[in-house]
Amino acid sequence: MKINQKIFLQLGIFIIFFGLMGILINNLTVNLARTGIGFNFSWLFKPASFALAEHPLPFTSSDSYAWALFIGWLNSLKVIVSSLILATLLGALIGFARAGKNSLLGFISAAYITIIRQTPLLLQLMFWYFVGFLGLKDNMFIQLKNIFSVSNQGIEFSGLTFSSEFLALLLGLSIFTSAFIAEVIRGGILSVSRGQWEAFRSLGLSERKGFIRIILPQALPAIIPGLTSQYLNLAKNSTLAIAVGYSDIYAINDTIINQTGRAIECFIVLLVSFLLLNLLITNTMEIFNKLILKSRKYS
């Protein structure tokens, strides 16, 4: 293509694109003016006047919307980080079982993976919440000397309490993500060539030692990118918190929109919150990746 042509083509697309945007924004301003809401962010500092069941930092209904959103973001972070750890442990266990030699374990983990992956996450979350936790009767306590108790209010463990909402979300997200992580880990293990297994066996290394010293270090570089994208999915999926009544960032945005009608501003807030979450996850994984690469000087 000639340079002139390129410039004209881009100019044309530029005009079409911004023309379309102009029409849409014009419609928007007309519609907003009609409803009398307008577009600004000053409402962020007005009192929220709703209560939150769960808040890691102090929160009362006279605190501002901005503070409520921050609390929601922290709640999101809390459930994401804890399910991320649980899902990784569970996924590693199932992935190893799936790639291992014991055919019974392999069959069970394959069944687990297909059942979890082929049913909607939302359905699973509702199951854990309504059947797993609310199904427990409030007088049904599993107690160990007042240290540990389980009821439909959640779990209490030596002073620490976890609500049923949090636990259902934690369990549902972890189990759902673990099935995907298991496949990532299995794929990573299978990506190491058969020759490597034969080489360490021919040297008399035990299966366990060979796996840890030879196979795992080579599988990890293939596993990390897959893990990162599963963690990002986990973060996005955590917004289904609203289905079980856990006040995460999305649920609080939802409440605010219902109160104030500020849909566009809230969408922007949500976008920024998620950009921050994603940056947090990808950067942490990048550091982790570099740590692994450091011990790996070969290309």
Binding site: S193, G195, E198, A199, R201, L203, S206, P217, Y298
Partner: protein
């Protein structure tokens, strides 16, 4: 003479009734070199890989260094054998995430529980024997194929094995790199190492072997002294195979 390898009637079937090994019997004595030849798919690799338990078999019996193995493939005995038998692969199979020296010292340190310093010293000695001690701290991907294969030989030697297995050690190499590896193997033969070598290199087989075993479709067609095998093979099938190799 002390036999190192005794195989009796080894048979291995794949599903659909194909035989990878069909009633294979052989003996290798201490200090001797057995060369195994045959067309691809004849079962020669399968045979050599049963000697250290990388392949199982369905019938027959193996006796490696006095350790008996049958079709039940007892893990403990296989493990004992692997500590005393070294193997060199066609595709080198070096560990890409470990340096050359680490590749060599891994098994001495973790299998034989030797001290790292001691293992390093012996590893350097082996590397100098192979003429590649200057590469000790490089990684496998930085070496040529011939150099990698010599590292693989050094790695197999690090456990001071009593038997060395070579599975087509030069088939993945560039033609001009083949001799450096074959020379290293010749040197080992001169030092009296017991070896089983699967190869297509005729002149090398003539020089080094005490016995040539020719296989086709899982069966042993003939076992002869190399002088006889290469000049006047007993079997029609062997002569045909040698003719075809010559043409290449």
């Amino acid at each position: 003479m002390e036999p190192i390898v005794i195989a009796k009637n080894l048979t291995k079937s794949y599903t659909k009734g194909l035989r990878a090994l069909d009633n294979v019997s052989l003996t290798v004595d201490r200090g001797k070199v057995l060369v195994v030849m045959g067309p691809s798919g004849s079962g020669k690799s399968t045979l050599i890989r049963t000697f250290n338990g990388l392949e199982t078999f369905d019938k027959g019996e193996l006796n490696i260094l006095g350790i008996r193995v049958d079709s039940s493939h007892d893990e403990k005995r296989i493990q004992k054998i692997r500590k005393r038998v070294g193997m060199v692969f066609q595709q080198f199979n070096l560990f890409p995430h470990l340096s050359i020296l680490e590749n060599i010292t891994l098994a001495p340190v973790h299998v034989q529980k030797r001290r790292q310093a001691e293992a390093d010293e012996y590893g350097m000695y082996l590397l100098s024997q192979m003429g590649i001690d200057s590469h000790a701290y490089k990684y496998p991907s930085q070496l040529s194929g011939g150099e990698q294969q010599r590292v693989a030989i050094a790695r197999a030697l690090a456990l001071k094995p009593e038997l060395l297995l070579f599975d087509e050690p030069t088939s993945a190499l560039d033609p001009e790199r083949i001799n450096e590896v074959l020379d290293a193997i010749r040197k080992l033969a001169e030092q009296g190492m017991t070896m089983v070598v699967v190869t297509h290199e005729i002149s090398f087989a003539k020089d080094v072997s005490d016995q040539v075993l020719f296989m086709d479709s899982g069966k042993v067609i003939e076992t002869s002294h190399p002088d006889i095998f290469f000049s006047n093979a007993k079997h029609e099938r062997s002569r045909k195979f040698l003719n075809q190799l010559d043409k290449h």
